[in-house]
C-alpha cells in the first residue's frame, strides 16, 4: 500500500520533531544535565522514528536511527560520560538523518554516500569493543591522542585478528569435512588441511636471519680463540613461533660456543686422532612434521663422561653406584654444572645448557644431546610449530566417534540421573556435526555438568571424561565457540560451553528464528521460571527444538528454566523444560533482544505436547472476518496495521476487520458497542496510558474475556504495568505486524477445530 504524499509529509514533520528532541536530549546528556528519563525519551524517539521510517520506505533514516541506537547503547555502557568521538558520531548521524528528512521529493540529494557514512559509524562502533575512555569531556585534552584505532592497527594485533578469523573458517571447513560423504569428503579434507596450515604459518617468523647472524658470531668467536673451524649452515626456509625465537637463539649461541670452546680439540690433538686440522661444525635447521629441528653438530672431543661422572660425584649430583650415560647426560643439563676448573670468557661457568633446556621446554620443545668420546657431540633442539597448549577434559558425545573436549578449568561432574540428562545439551547440534549412521541411536551415558563461577552447562556425553593435553593448531580465540584441537595427534573438537550456546545464532537456530521474516511466528505469552524467580515475556517464534523469547532479562547461557507458553483466553498453558541456549542483545536492525531457549524434547511426551502447541496445519481460513480493535495514537502505525491485515488476507489468511482508536475514550466506546475477537492496544494513547482502559475491559462483563495484546516501546516496566492491568500478552515495538495477524488467525483457526 503506497503511502499518500500527505502521509509522507506528516511523517517528515513528525520525524524532524523527533530528531530535534533527540538532539536536545543528547546535548543535555553530553553536558551532564540529562537524567534517566532524558535517555529513555531519546531512545523512544529514535525507536519510533526507526519504525516509522522502515514502514514508509525511508530505509536510510531507519538505518541511521539504528546506528544512533547503537551509539546511545555505547553511551550507556560508559555511563553517559561522553567522549569526543561518540559525540561527533551522534551529531553527524543526527544531521545526516535530518538532511534526508528535509530533502524535498522534487529535489533529490546530490551524491550522498550513506553506505560510506554507515561504514564509518560501524567502524567506530567496532572499536568501542575495546575499553572506552572514561575521562569526562570537559577534563580531556583536546589535541590528537593515540586512540584504540591505532592500537588495533598494530601489525601484531592485525595478524592475530586475521589468524582468528582464518581459524574460524578452518573450523567450519573441518566440520563440513566431517559431515561430508563421497568425493566431497576428500576435497573438504584438503581444504581443512590447507587452511590449518595457513593458520599455523600466519604468526610464524623466519629464522634464516637468526641462523646467519649466529653462525657469523660463531666464526668470529673461533677466530678469537684461534680455532680453525669451518662452520656450515644448512637450512630450509624455516619459520618458527615468535614465542620460541628467544629460546632458539639461546640454544644456538650456547650450542656453538660449547662446540668451539669445549668441543674442538687443539690441532695437534686432532692430528693425533687422524682428524683434519680444520674442525667442522654443522648447523642444520629443518621442519620435521609439526616441529622445527635445529641441530649443532661438531667433530670434536665429544663429552668426557668419565670427567662428568667424577665432577658429578664430587658434587653429589649422582649416587655412589655406577652412573648410566643417560644419568650423566642429565647432569650436564643441571644448573651450575661444569667439568672445567676455571671459567673462561666464553664458557665453563656451568650456565648454558640448563638455560637452553629450560627455555626450550617452556615453549613445549625438547633438547637432546648425543655424544661419542673422541668423535664429537650433537645437540638437537626441537620446538613445536604450534606452541599453544591447553589442559582439557576429553570425552565422546552420543552419536559421534569424534572426540570432544572442554577446557579443564571447568569443574566437571558426570550426572546419570534421567532428569539431569534431560537438561543436557547435544554438542553435535551446537557444532553442527551430523550423527554417525552407525551410532544414530546411541543413548547418552549421562550429562556432564560443567561449572565455572556462576556458569553451569550440561553436555550430553557417551563416555567418561578424561584429562588430556590438547595442542591448538587453529586457535579461534576466546570468543569462538568451537575450535579444532589435536589430542595425541588426533583431531578433536574443543567446545567452549560459555560460547557454544551462541553458536546456533550464527547458523539456523536462534538468530534465524528471530530474524527470518519469511516465516510467520506465533506470539505467545511466556513465563520463564528459573532459580531466582519468574520472568514474564513474549515468545516470538518457535522452530525445531528452539523458542525465541523476547525479553531484556539476562539469564546465563546454559541455565535451566521452566518455560510456560500460552495466550490467555485463547490457548491453555503448556509447560516445558528448557535451557538458555543463547542471549541476544538486539544489536542488529530489526533484531529484538531476547533469549533463545533450547527444548530438550526427548523427555516423555514433550515433543507431542510441543507439536500440539505450535505444529501442524491450523485448518481452513475462517468464514467470518476476525474483528480487531487497534488503539494507537500514531496514524502511521494505524495505517500499517490495516495494510498488514490486508496483506495477511491476500496471502491466504483469514480476513480481518479493524477498527481504529487513538485515545482511551474512543477505544472504550468502540469496545462497548462492538463485538471484537481481540484488542490490540498501545500502552501510550493520545490521552494517556492505557492502564485504566485495560482495567475497565477486565472489570466489565461484556469485555472481561476479550483477548488483549498490549504493545509499547518502553520495555519491561510497561510490560509489567500492562499485564498487571489486564493485558494478556505484551509486545515491544517495533511490532512484527505480520506475526500479530498470523497469531490471531492461527489461534482462532485452531479453536474451531474439533
Amino acid at each position: 500500500v503506497k503511502p499518500t504524499d500527505e502521509f509522507i509529509e506528516r511523517y517528515r514533520a513528525v520525524g524532524l520533531d523527533r530528531l530535534t528532541r533527540v538532539e536536545t536530549a543528547w546535548f543535555a546528556i553530553t553536558q551532564g544535565a540529562g537524567s534517566d528519563q532524558t535517555a529513555e525519551g531519546l531512545r523512544r524517539d529514535l525507536h519510533t522514528l526507526k519504525g516509522d521510517s522502515a514502514l514508509l520506505g525511508f530505509d536510510g533514516v531507519s538505518k541511521l536511527c539504528q546506528r544512533l541506537e547503537d551509539l546511545v547503547s555505547w553511551a550507556a555502557e560508559v555511563e553517559f560520560v561522553i567522549g569526543d568521538e561518540l559525540d561527533l558520531l551522534v551529531t553527524m548521524a543526527l544531521q545526516f538523518a535530518g538532511m534526508i528528512l528535509r530533502a524535498p521529493a522534487a529535489s533529490p540529494l546530490t551524491g550522498i554516500d550513506l553506505p560510506g557514512f554507515l561504514a564509518q559509524v560501524d567502524a567506530s562502533l567496532a572499536r568501542t569493543r575495546e575499553p572506552p575512555s572514561r575521562e569526562p569531556t570537559g577534563g580531556r585534552k583536546r589535541e590528537d591522542r593515540p586512540s584504540g584505532r591505532m592500537a588495533a592497527l598494530r601489525s601484531d594485533d592485525a595478524v592475530s585478528q586475521v589468524r582468528e578469523r582464518l581459524a574460524r573458517a578452518a573450523t567450519i571447513s573441518f566440520v563440513e569435512y566431517c559431515n561430508a560423504r563421497g568425493k566431497a569428503r576428500g576435497r573438504l579434507r584438503k581444504l581443512w588441511l590447507v587452511l590449518r596450515q595457513e593458520v599455523e604459518a600466519l604468526p610464524l617468523v623466519s629464522i634464516g636471519e637468526l641462523l646467519e647472524q649466529n653462525v657469523g658470531a660463531a666464526r668470529a668467536l673461533a677466530d678469537t680463540l684461534k680455532k680453525r673451524v669451518r662452520i656450515s649452515l644448512e637450512h630450509e626456509p624455516v619459520r618458527v613461533p615468535p614465542a620460541a625465537l628467544d629460546s632458539l637463539s639461546t640454544a644456538l649461541v650456547h650450542g656453538m660456543r660449547n662446540a668451539i670452546d669445549h668441543g674442538i680439540e687443539p690441532v695437534a690433538v686432532r692430528r693425533e686422532r687422524g682428524k683434519p686440522d680444520v674442525a667442522h661444525i654443522r648447523v642444520t635447521a629443518r621442519r620435521r612434521d609439526e616441529q622445527i629441528e635445529i641441530a649443532v653438530e661438531d667433530d670434536g672431543n665429544g663429552i668426557d663422561f668419565a670427567a662428568v661422572e667424577r665432577a658429578a660425584r664430587e658434587r653429589q649430583l649422582i649416587g655412589a653406584g655406577p652412573a648410566t650415560q643417560r644419568e650423566l647426560t642429565d647432569v650436564v643439563f643441571k644448573h651450575g654444572f661444569s667439568t672445567r676448573a676455571e671459567a673462561t670468557e666464553v664458557s665453563g661457568r656451568g650456565v648454558g645448557l640448563d638455560a637452553v633446556k629450560q627455555g626450550i621446554e617452556k615453549v613445549g620443545g625438547t633438547v637432546e644431546l648425543t655424544t661419542q668420546a673422541g668423535h664429537g657431540t650433537r645437540v638437537v633442539v626441537r620446538v613445536p610449530i604450534v606452541t599453544d597448549r591447553l589442559d582439557v577434559l576429553r570425552f565422546r558425545c552420543p552419536g559421534a566417534a569424534l572426540a570432544v573436549a572442554v577446557s579443564a578449568d571447568w569443574r566437571a561432574e558426570l550426572e546419570r540421573d534421567p532428569a539431569q540428562i534431560a537438561l543436557g545439551i547435544d554438542v553435535l547440534r551446537i557444532v553442527q556435526l551430523d550423527r554417525d549412521a552407525a551410532r544414530e541411536d546411541e543413548p547418552p551415558l549421562g550429562a556432564l555438568k560443567l561449572t565455572r563461577g556462576h556458569q553451569t552447562v550440561r553436555l550430553l556425553v557417551a563416555s567418561e571424561p578424561e584429562a588430556a593435553v590438547a595442542r591448538r593448531p587453529c586457535p579461534t580465540g576466546d570468543t569462538g565457540a568451537v575450535e579444532v584441537v589435536s589430542i595425541r595427534g588426533v583431531d578433536a573438537v574443543l567446545v567452549r560451553p560459555e560460547r557454544a550456546m551462541e553458536l546456533p545464532k550464527a547458523r539456523e537456530g536462534a538468530n534465524a528464528l528471530a530474524m527470518d521474516r519469511t516465516r510467520r511466528h506465533l506470539i505467545l505469552r511466556a513465563a520463564l521460571t528459573h532459580a531466582n524467580g519468574t520472568i514474564q515475556a513474549t515468545t516470538l517464534g518457535a522452530a525445531g527444538d528452539a523458542v525465541f523469547v523476547r525479553t531484556d532479562d539476562t539469564l546465563r547461557a546454559g541455565e535451566p528454566v521452566k518455560l510456560t507458553m500460552w495466550f490467555p483466553r485463547l490457548l491453555e498453558p503448556r509447560q516445558f523444560d528448557a535451557y538458555v541456549a543463547a542471549r541476544h542483545a538486539g544489536a542488529s536492525p530489526g533484531e529484538p533482544a531476547g533469549l533463545t531457549l533450547g527444548l530438550p524434547l526427548h523427555a516423555h511426551g514433550q515433543r507431542t505436547q510441543y507439536q500440539a502447541l505450535v505444529g501442524g496445519d491450523p485448518g481452513p481460513r475462517l468464514a467470518q472476518p476476525l474483528r480487531v480493535l487497534v488503539a494507537d495514537r500514531n496514524p502511521t502505525l494505524l495505517a500499517a496495521y490495516a495494510a498488514a491485515a490486508r496483506r495477511h488476507e491476500a496471502a491466504g489468511g483469514s480476513a480481518f476487520e479493524l477498527d481504529a482508536a487513538a485515545d482511551t475514550g474512543t477505544a472504550w466506546r468502540l469496545l462497548e458497542g462492538g463485538h471484537y475477537h481481540l484488542a490490540l492496544i498501545d500502552h501510550d494513547l493520545a490521552d494517556g496510558r492505557s492502564d485504566r482502559l485495560l482495567a475497565r475491559i477486565r472489570a466489565t462483563a461484556r469485555t472481561a474475556n476479550l483477548p488483549v495484546l498490549a504493545v509499547c516501546v518502553a520495555g519491561q516496566a510497561s510490560a509489567a504495568e500492562a499485564t498487571t492491568a489486564g493485558a494478556d500478552v505484551f509486545l515491544d515495538k517495533p511490532l512484527p505486524l505480520a506475526d500479530v495477524f498470523f497469531t490471531i488467525d492461527y489461534l482462532y483457526r485452531r479453536r474451531q477445530q474439533p
Binding site: 568521538e85 559525540d87 561527533l88 545526516f96 528535509r102 551524491g111 583536546r142
Partner: protein
C-alpha cells in the same frame, strides 16, 4: 591560494592581518565578520577562486554560537557572490567539537537544499595528522561527495 605562513608568528590574529594585507578590512567588514572566541580564531578572505575561511585554535563549546554566526555569514557571502567554491583551511584547527561540527554539517545540508545550479563546493584544506579531522571530515564528505572536497 594561501601564502606560506610565518611559523614564528604567535598571534594568528596578527598573522591574519599581515596575511590578508590591504584586503583584510574590506573582507572582514564587508563579507564575513572575523571572530575570536575562547581559543578559536576565524576569519575570511576572498581570493581568486572564491571565499577562503581560515580557522585556527580550538573550536569548542564556548565558540559554538559565534562560529555558527560566522558560518552563516560566509554562507550568505558565498550565495550573494554566486561563488562556485569556498575554501575552509582547518590545518591549524587543533580540535572542533561536535557542536561546532554540527554547524558545518548543517551548512552542507543547506547546500543540498539549494537549487542545483546555485550549489557551490566546500573545499577543506586539512591536516590528516589531526585525529578529529581523520574522524569527522570523511563523514562530512558522505553528506555530499560532490559538495565536499578534502585536500591535504
Amino acid at each position: 591560494m594561501l601564502a606560506p605562513r610565518d611559523r614564528a608568528v604567535v598571534s594568528p590574529w596578527g598573522e591574519a592581518r599581515r596575511f590578508l594585507g590591504d584586503s583584510f578590512e574590506a573582507v572582514s567588514a564587508g563579507a564575513v565578520t572575523p571572530i575570536e572566541v575562547g581559543e578559536l580564531k576565524a576569519w575570511a578572505d576572498r581570493d581568486t577562486s572564491g571565499l577562503a575561511l581560515r580557522l585556527v585554535g580550538n573550536a569548542d563549546l564556548r565558540a559554538a554560537q559565534a562560529f555558527g554566526a560566522f558560518i552563516r555569514e560566509a554562507e550568505a557571502a558565498a550565495v550573494a557572490a554566486g561563488l562556485r567554491e569556498v575554501t575552509i583551511d582547518v590545518r591549524e584547527l587543533e580540535f572542533m567539537n561536535a557542536v561546532c561540527l554540527r554547524e558545518v554539517a548543517a551548512w552542507v545540508s543547506r547546500l543540498q537544499a539549494l537549487p542545483p545550479d546555485t550549489r557551490y563546493r566546500l573545499r577543506f584544506v586539512t591536516d590528516p595528522g589531526r585525529h578529529w579531522q581523520r574522524l569527522s571530515l570523511p563523514m562530512l564528505k558522505c553528506f555530499g561527495t560532490e559538495l565536499v572536497e578534502l585536500v591535504e
